[in-house]
């Protein structure tokens, strides 16, 4: 489809990407089969690429695509004897919903993407497939694009997606929005997938680039959709706030050569003020009307960073206090690490280092390069250069992306070079 995209095709490609998730969700709801839905959705888009440049884009492109896709699905089911029984069942459904309305007078399409979010993030699916399915089904990325986003070969990704779809179909993972009683149990899984997608894009775990704007951009887009669908869920607002407030800094996080620029050295004029403002408004929503959730608290921390004129003038006491709250909500060594860094800024490097050293026994931090890098920074600031060098070396052994490694090499050089 993309290969043959002409000028007109490119013009409507944005429309397709927007419509794809909606279209797919509607088709999955009607036919209960993700594979069939994907096939007829892409056929409908192909048909649009042929017809729209000639006949013009219909007034309601989404309804046009859905009508076309539904007709193709029924044709396919008729041709396929294995689906005969299902067709009979679906025919009842089609009769019940009446004749397909003409595309340009159809009532507003129901937004069924929420069901798809919960299906893609179902805990019965392998964790590695959940984000991939969301990018494929809700963001409308092609399998090679999803593979690129996950840094795996397209064949590996294709197998993962095929296996996940097979499980959805054959184990009959339902397409449904969890009830109000189940939502507290199921929503965190959906948020976790989206948050992981964003963090992988924000700080790539490997590869030549520090950031993966393709991935962060899609994560922001998907969380925006989720927030539109679940505006009353404060943690969804919290997650959207968090990723906007962090994403707002992404231009300033690398220099012209792609090298890492630390928070304290960033040109704050390059931070996206509109995004910060939007994020700050959402933080208020996330923290109002009940006990805070972990995403809301993290967003509040990000907001304090974004609102500070420079590193020294940052409200470190409040950030450290928010980390105390976060540590209660989601106790983890990584949160404790971040808290220690904030305490170092509030109470001095010695205090921070003491907290970091208390964490040295944590299994999860032993192979976590930010832990060793943070220790290196504090030891260096305290003038303990040989210990700092050892910590930086350890971080370098573990670090992922090339810009992060280059940064650690610079720090290592700075601690091993004889003072001038």
């Amino acid at each position: 489809m993309r290969e043959r995209a002409s000028g007109a095709g490119r013009a409507v490609e944005a429309v397709f990407r927007e419509e794809h998730g909606l279209l797919l969700a509607s088709l999955v709801r009607r036919f209960g089969d993700l594979d069939l839905a994907e096939e007829v959705a892409s056929e409908a888009i192909e048909a649009a690429l042929v017809h729209w440049p000639v006949q013009g884009v219909p007034a309601r492109p989404g309804a046009w695509l859905l009508t076309t896709a539904r007709r193709r699905a029924v044709d396919r089911l008729r041709r396929d004897r294995a689906y005969a029984a299902r067709l009979a069942a679906l025919q009842v459904e089609m009769d019940r919903t009446g004749p397909v309305p003409p595309a340009d007078t159809a009532a507003d399409l129901p937004d069924e993407r929420l069901q798809l979010f919960f299906t893609c993030a179902h805990p019965a699916l392998p964790a590695e497939a959940r984000g991939a399915l969301m990018l494929r089904c809700l963001a409308g990325l092609s399998t090679p694009e999803v593979a690129r986003a996950h840094l795996v070969p397209p064949t590996t990704m294709a197998q993962r997606i095929v296996r996940a779809k097979k499980k959805i179909r054959e184990a009959r993972i339902p397409f449904r929005v969890p009830g109000a009683d189940e939502l507290p149990e199921r929503l965190p899984g959906v948020l976790q997938v989206l948050y992981s997608m964003f963090t992988e894009g924000y700080a790539a775990s490997s590869g030549p680039d520090l950031q993966r704007p393709d991935l962060t951009g899609e994560a922001v887009r998907l969380v925006r959709i989720l927030y539109r669908l679940l505006p009353a869920e404060r943690e969804v607002a919290g997650l959207l706030a968090l990723i906007l407030l962090v994403h707002a800094r992404h231009e300033a996080r690398t220099d012209a050569d792609g090298a890492l620029v630390l928070l304290g050295d960033q040109d704050r004029d390059r931070w996206d003020r509109a995004m910060i403002e939007e994020g700050a408004t959402l933080v208020t929503i996330a923290l109002t009307g009940g006990p805070p959730g972990p995403y809301g608290v993290q967003a509040a921390i990000a907001a304090l960073h974004d609102e500070a004129p420079d590193l020294a003038a940052t409200d470190w006491p409040q950030i450290a206090a928010l980390y105390d709250v976060l540590l209660v909500l989601t106790p983890s060594p990584v949160v404790a690490l971040n808290r220690a860094v904030a305490v170092a800024m509030r109470d001095g490097d010695e205090a921070g280092l003491a907290l970091l050293d208390q964490l040295s026994g944590e299994e999860r931090l032993r192979g976590h390069h930010p832990y060793h890098a943070a220790r290196g920074d504090l030891l260096r600031r305290l003038g303990r250069h040989s210990e700092a060098a050892a910590a930086y070396r350890r971080a370098l052994d573990l670090a992922g992306s090339e810009p992060e490694r280059a940064h650690l090499r610079r720090m290592l050089d700075a601690t091993t070079r004889p003072p001038v």
Binding site: A82, H122, A124, E170, R172, I173, P174
Partner: protein, 116 residues
Amino acid sequence: MKYMLLINAGAIDAEGGAAECDEQDWAAYDKAVREAGILVSGESLADLVTATVVKVGADGARTVVDGPFAESREVLGGFYVIDVPDLDAALEWAARCPGARGSGSVVVRPVADFGA
């Protein structure tokens, strides 16, 4: 849609039963499954020491040996086959099963449907 709930006992008590739930829990669960009208079949297996393995080799020779002796701590203790609309419903019933508690676990497997 039929699902098999394979009940793996974790810790085993002196009598060979699951250590973390009692007869009453099982009786209550069994009653609930029956009353919900979803029960296809279900059995509790006798103690593992009573199990025997039969194999037939390529030459047709039959070997019968004592066992199997579990290599893991998990021991298949019994099963239910239930008929429910989808996986979420099956997972809900699996979660209610006493065998899922503590060191036990329940594996949920859809029963293959060959369109018969």
